[in-house]
């Protein structure tokens, strides 16, 4: 940093914050504080990694979907997750991050993804519950991010939220079908999947507010629009009536309507489990990262072949143009 730019920083910083306070967007080549850039790269990369790793738990069921209809839906959904990951890597790149470097950090375990994807999908009902609860929680988290102060991220989130709605509805419809037209065993599968995914879904909103030290700065920068606990409460309030309509019991004896607060009260989350899974000790952490690394390594020859083809092709077209010029 030269003396000149250093001297200009307070003015630039003030202009930057004023832009955000006026609810205008920050665009890629605007001046931004290093902390803002770093926070966003981390946030967007972590989000991108989550979409990419998020293909695995459900992708696991594509070959075993119970009907062609369900298989086509699941394929489209998993393809969407890949697309979401790519929109987000593209947004991260506008901040100066390098995509190959982000992939490297993921497969070397140096960057995180949402802890929810470290749980296994044990039955086909899990596909439905992931759509209903996990994508439902993701929508709660993501809708406010359509107003993120960083333009490319906000625009990516608009696309993603439009597509997530299909994800949630296909999951809920799948569960409805199992509950209303299924056998007793199938209804038990739905309840079992709900029991296993409920608490991890609540953990998706991150640690409680008193244990989330970066929240204040992120809110001032408008890269976060609501606190973790606010969003978690909103999700619980939305989900309880959906569970009733479905006919499943959410596995929390303390879950009860509180007329004074105008919200549902719910039990204490096992934050020790959350920390364990985030720090790498969940049921599937090693498997998820190993699978991603394998896919990357197995695809190396395809990337190499396409690069070689493009190089050869560009030489040829260059010659062709040259001869035309003559």
């Amino acid at each position: 940093m030269t003396a000149d730019t250093e001297a200009a920083t307070p003015e630039l910083e003030e202009h930057f914050q004023r832009t955000i306070d006026r609810d205008q967007r920050i665009e890629p080549r605007d001046w931004m504080p290093e902390g803002y850039r770093k926070t966003l790269i981390r946030q967007v990369a972590q989000h991108a990694h989550s979409e990419i790793i998020g293909m695995q738990p459900e992708g696991n069921w594509i070959t075993r979907a119970p009907s062609l209809r369900r298989k086509a839906i699941l394929l489209a959904k998993v393809q969407d997750e890949a697309g979401h990951g790519l929109y987000l890597y593209s947004a991260a790149e506008t901040l100066g991050a390098d995509r190959a470097d982000l992939t490297r950090k993921l497969i070397e375990g140096r960057q995180k993804y949402s802890s929810i994807f470290n749980y296994p999908t044990l039955s086909f009902a899990d596909v439905g519950v992931i759509g209903w609860l996990v994508d439902g929680a993701a929508i709660c988290n993501q809708v406010p991010l359509c107003r993120s102060s960083y333009g490319p991220y906000a625009r990516g989130m608009v696309r993603i939220c439009k597509e997530e709605s299909f994800h949630q509805r296909q999951g809920y419809e799948l569960l409805m079908t199992m509950m209303r037209r299924g056998t007793e065993a199938q209804r038990r599968m739905v309840q079992d999947a709900t029991d296993r995914w409920w608490w991890p879904s609540l953990m998706m909103f991150g640690p409680p507010d008193h244990d989330s030290p970066n929240t204040a700065q992120s809110m001032a920068w408008k890269v976060k629009r609501h606190t973790n606990d606010e969003l978690r409460q909103r999700f619980v309030d939305m989900t309880v009536p959906q569970a009733e309509a479905l006919g499943v019991t959410l596995p929390d004896p303390e879950l009860a309507w509180n007329p004074e607060r105008g919200h549902y009260d719910f039990g204490e989350i096992d934050w020790d489990e959350f920390k364990r899974v985030v720090s790498g000790d969940g049921p599937c952490n090693a498997q998820r990262v190993a699978q991603r690394r394998r896919a990357h390594d197995d695809g190396a020859w395809v990337r190499g072949a396409a690069t070689a083809y493009a190089a050869k092709h560009s030489d040829t077209s260059h010659d062709h143009r040259g001869s035309q010029g003559l």
Partner: protein, 106 residues
């Protein structure tokens, strides 16, 4: 809107695919609009990937792709003197001129 990236040539030399910016015409009669970017080995591959990535639900009838490195962009900062000449010519706007209310169709 475009991040001009140093080290782009170096990256290509290492066998990484270049970055392309994608523009989609959502329907006839509208302009192409920038929708995002992607990596591809060449233009043709960039087009196919753009179709798969940005038009899975009938979002487009036409796609342009262009290498990000080939875009020359102005600074996006509105305080930039680059745009200053457009700020001080109020007479370019129709509201600059007073016309009596009883003059029709103007």
């Amino acid at each position: 809107m475009i991040m001009l990236r140093e080290g782009m040539d170096e990256m290509c030399a290492q066998g990484e695919w270049p970055l392309y910016e994608v523009f989609v015409r959502s329907k006839r009669g509208l302009n192409h609009v920038h929708v995002g970017s992607l990596h591809a080995a060449d233009g043709e591959m960039a087009l196919r990937r753009a179709r798969d990535l940005f038009t899975r639900r009938n979002e487009g009838v036409s796609i342009w792709v262009v290498k990000s490195a080939d875009i020359t962009a102005s600074s996006p900062d509105e305080k930039d003197p680059f745009f200053a000449p457009s700020a001080d010519k109020v007479y370019r706007h129709p509201t600059f001129y007073d016309i009596p209310d009883n003059v029709p169709h103007m």
